[in-house]
Symmetry: C2
Subunit: 114 residues, 2 copies
């Protein structure tokens, strides 16, 4: 049980995207996942800065991938959330969920209400 440090809102979105994407997670896909699913603009600078900070805190790990791009371009840096990061994400999600449930209305597909 590591120390809880209160993730920021954007950090939460990024960590959630990492969980969703699994092995496919790198800059471009993470950005697209958040923009599409959360309906929110994401600048590249904001994304990488946040990923870097999350890595410094030990919540994610990264490795530079093989240069297997199909049409040229720099190699991808793949990101993966680690146990510590998942733990923080769960805590933040639980706190937010407890505060937000029942005060909708939101679409049925969201199902935040208890």
């Amino acid at each position: 049980m590591s120390k809880t440090k209160n993730l920021g809102e954007f950090e939460i979105l990024v960590l959630a995207a990492l969980v969703r994407l699994g092995a496919d997670a790198y800059g471009v896909t993470i950005r697209r996942e958040i923009e599409e699913r959360a309906g929110r603009d994401v600048s590249v600078g904001a994304l990488y800065a946040t990923l870097s900070r999350l890595e410094q805190k030990g919540y994610v790990s990264s490795r530079v991938g093989e240069a297997t791009a199909e049409r040229g371009g720099r190699a991808k840096r793949h990101y993966i959330i680690n146990a510590n990061g998942k733990e923080q994400l769960d805590k933040s999600a639980l706190a937010l969920g407890n505060m937000l449930k029942g005060i909708g209305p939101w679409p049925k597909t969201l199902n935040l209400q208890a």
Copy 2:
């Protein structure tokens, strides 16, 4: 439809507390609501600074209450979320919900999964 400006994580908790508390919302009760329900320490300074900023942005309104305390003490400042603030809160909740749903597990009472 006013401009969306991406609420911070703590701002979301505070606005949600205002919705929950309704007319009973003032410093002490807001703080207690977040500490109990979100399971998170809240310093008085952090809370009032955030309330002040939310008011500046037009998301909440406040008024100093009558001096009807039963055992002395300064008058309360009552806070109320306004339509603009509720709109932002809903957007943030929707974005977070869409990213977080299905990646639990969380307690059944949370029901974040779709």
